[in-house]
């Protein structure tokens, strides 16, 4: 029989769960746990500079690996600083386990120093949470937390542990459960076969079908199955912001991202389709535009593991509740039986139409200017070229995020890491750190802007401490570009608080943190600078790229219109 203190149990349970890295920041309520951490070498702790960054690091790791990221923070401000990161993970269904210290049990509710009701404050943004009542419960609670975070529709789980429960002098028997069963939680393991057969028949009969797939395909590890199905049925594919990489971005059947800043051909194909196969998506407002005008001629097959996502915004004609991977596999094996065939003639005509849309505008056209100013679009195209589309790319939020989604061709899942649902500025740098730490041999690039990067720039220090040679592409337009774009389009260019006239010298700042900084001002310097940055394998390189401050992201859907109602440039609309 092995006797451990509560503090030792916390760390030991993480080790038994196979956790390699945890990201956190110590404080009073957690000192017993940090002492236990010090006395072992299975779990490595990464000391961030702000707890929010710890959650984004865990998040980046989780999105790249598919496994839960783990955060360790103290009570009070330590816990509240994680809230933005937890909400980010919740909105994008990212598995995460957040262990927070709490004041001693007897003092809960007394407004003690550094007390906050973490379970209460995080309640609306977690999949579940626990307040541990006794040390003996720690192993089972941590096991449950991982199980809940990683299964079904994944999400963040908070485990709040009062200090007295981690007391090093109170030892109890430690057994880490192999399995966990919760009578009130049984996520579906497969889809309904009858519905799947019906869906496939509908798909084969369709004349203008399209696949609209999202983050569920990435989370559900179904990119292969989705690609096979699309290939076999010659279906055009469009991805949501979260779904990029779920189908190869360089494939001719890929129409680009859809929605607010989606491609002309993807949005038109959606609008005119007669059947939408929606896979792991949630018909978000950034996709559908005006919901009452959404795809008027389309029937909808909706596959999702979360029944609450089905028919929430748009009613599904054939709902299929289940994990996308087995559902798509079942469709593929039904296809193999080969009882019914594709409507060749109709599909040919549909592709002819799509090619017309595509050739009339290209996928994401833009004005390259007179060659004197760097365009943001150009930066991402060059980045894609020099990294051969193989890098892990994280981003912050704003124009640079949309440009990256449009111009970087992701061929593989889990390589595009951004805050889609919550839209969290400050996400890019720490999430890139989380990826780099666990995938040290991969190229990891953070595309950011001078607004976003400053929301977590202190993490450059963490990068130095742990030797994380990521590459930062700072699209510096000296303005909050997306806010400015809306102000141009809707507020007669009244730039209320959307520009910054006291920016730091980012090159010097990077150098001050011990990294390499390079400024890029002319289009011809762009590619050599990027090649140089990538060739410096063992250092973090910060590329401060001065880009056109007047650029807008296009297409842009027109508010409350249908999917096909878009601005195509500053002067043209559909």
């Amino acid at each position: 029989m092995e006797l451990l203190s509560g503090a030792e149990m916390v760390i030991r349970a993480l080790a038994d769960e196979g956790v390699e890295y945890i990201y956190g920041y110590p404080g009073g309520a957690l000192l017993h746990v940090y002492d236990a951490l010090f006395q072992q070498n299975k779990v490595t702790h990464i000391l961030v500079r702000h707890e929010q960054a710890a959650t984004h690091m865990a998040d980046g790791y989780a999105r790249a690996s598919g496994k839960a990221g783990v955060v360790l923070v103290t009570s009070g401000p330590g816990a509240t600083n994680t809230i933005t990161g937890i909400a980010t993970a919740y909105m994008d269904s990212v598995p995460m386990v957040i262990i927070s210290g709490q004041v001693p049990s007897d003092f809960i509710g007394t407004d003690m120093f550094q007390e906050t009701d973490m379970v209460g404050i995080s309640r609306p943004i977690v999949k579940h949470s626990f307040l541990v009542k006794q040390a003996q419960d720690i192993p089972a609670t941590i096991k449950k937390a991982f199980h809940i975070a990683q299964s079904g529709r994944p999400g963040p789980v908070v485990v709040d542990i009062p200090k007295d429960i981690t007391n090093p002098s109170d030892k109890y028997e430690y057994i880490y459960p192999k399995k966990v069963k919760l009578r009130s939680y049984t996520p579906p393991l497969k889809g309904h076969s009858g519905q799947i057969r019906k869906a496939l028949n509908m798909l084969l009969e369709a004349k203008r079908p399209i696949i609209y797939s999202g983050g569920g395909v990435i989370l559900g590890k179904a990119a292969n199955e989705l690609t096979q199905l699309a290939k076999q049925l010659r279906l055009p594919v469009t991805n949501t912001l979260m779904g990029l990489g779920g189908f190869p971005g360089t494939d001719n059947q890929f129409l680009g991202m859809l929605g607010m800043h989606g491609s002309y051909s993807a949005n038109l194909a959606m609008h005119h389709s007669d059947l939408i196969l929606a896979v792991g998506v949630r018909f978000d407002d950034r996709v559908t535009n005006g919901i009452s005008k959404f795809c008027p001629t389309a029937k909808i097959i909706h596959i999702d593991i979360d029944p609450a996502s089905i028919s929430k915004n748009v009613r599904a004609d054939i709902p299929i509740v289940g994990p996308v991977q087995p559902v798509l596999s079942e469709m593929l094996s039904l296809l193999k039986e080969g009882k019914s065939a594709l409507n060749e003639e109709a599909i040919n005509a549909w592709w002819k139409q799509i090619e017309e849309w595509r050739s009339s505008r290209g996928t994401f056209p833009y004005d390259k200017g007179d060659g004197s100013v760097i365009k943001s679009q150009m930066v991402i195209e060059t980045l894609c070229e020099v990294t051969k589309g193989k890098a892990y790319v994280t981003s912050d939020v704003g124009q640079h995020q949309m440009f990256t989604a449009q111009y970087y061709k992701f061929d593989k899942p889990n390589h595009w890491i951004n805050s889609g649902g919550l839209g969290t500025m400050g996400f890019g740098l720490p999430s890139a750190m989380g990826v780099k730490l666990s995938f040290p041999d991969e190229m990891v690039v953070c595309v950011t802007g001078e607004g976003s990067i400053q929301m977590n720039i202190q993490e450059l220090s963490t990068c130095m401490q742990y030797d994380l040679p990521i590459k930062i592409i700072n699209l510096n337009n000296q303005a909050l570009g997306m806010v400015r774009q809306w102000q141009d389009m809707q507020y007669n260019s009244r730039y209320s608080h959307s520009y910054m006239d006291s920016l730091p010298d980012f090159v010097k700042l990077a150098e001050a943190y011990g990294h390499v900084g390079i400024r890029v001002e002319k289009p011809e310097e762009l590619k050599p600078a990027m090649e140089k940055a990538l060739s410096i394998k063992d250092r973090l390189v910060f590329l401060d790229i001065r880009v056109d401050p007047n650029e807008h992201v296009y297409p842009m859907q027109i508010k409350d219109g249908s999917m096909r109602d878009m601005w195509l440039s500053k002067t043209e609309r559909t």
Binding site: V119, R123, P124, K127, L182, S184, A308, S311
Partner: protein
């Protein structure tokens, strides 16, 4: 339309706050709510009434089902069911009013469960409409205090909400 939603859930600390929080967070309204442990002390049964279009109610039941503590959810109004609410009313009872309150209480098949020189406490069970009708019948000037438990309900027939 008004719906009665019955929830079987883990009798754990925090479970109730998750249910109530969900309603606030997603902008659903709660007309009434009651909750107590079942014959199995590890489970609680919660009944709530809410008003909304079918689409909204469908979302409410789905979102409730997603809560980890929730074992089962049923919309009782989808089938034949029995609903009851218990009410205590403290009323002024002096002079001629005493007989009048007693008569009305008898008509509604209620009981007077506490008596002072000037007041009665009337206990009454029934569906919500019946309780409303009693208060109206007795007259608001007579009523001193009203306590209602909120609706509790159960399906008719052999359908059972259990593990």
């Amino acid at each position: 339309m008004r719906h009665i939603i019955s929830v079987l859930m883990e009798n754990e600390p925090g479970a109730l706050s998750r249910v109530v929080g969900l309603f606030a967070q997603r902008n659903y309204n709660i007309e009434s709510l009651n909750v107590a442990p079942t014959e199995d002390a590890t489970l609680s049964r919660l009944t709530l009434t809410t008003i909304g279009a079918d689409h909204k109610i469908e979302q409410i039941t789905k979102q409730l089902n997603k809560l980890i503590d929730v074992v089962k959810v049923v919309d009782l109004t989808e089938g034949a069911h029995i609903e009851r609410e218990l009410m205590f009313v403290k009323v002024k009872a002096t002079g001629g009013q005493r007989a009048e309150v007693k008569r009305t209480t008898d008509i509604f098949r209620g009981q007077i469960v506490d008596v002072t020189a000037n007041t009665y406490v009337v206990q009454l069970a029934g569906d919500s409409a019946k309780l409303d009708a009693f208060i109206q019948a007795i007259g608001s000037s007579t009523v001193l205090e009203v306590v209602r438990t909120g609706v509790s309900g159960i399906a008719r027939g052999e359908k059972v909400l259990s593990l």
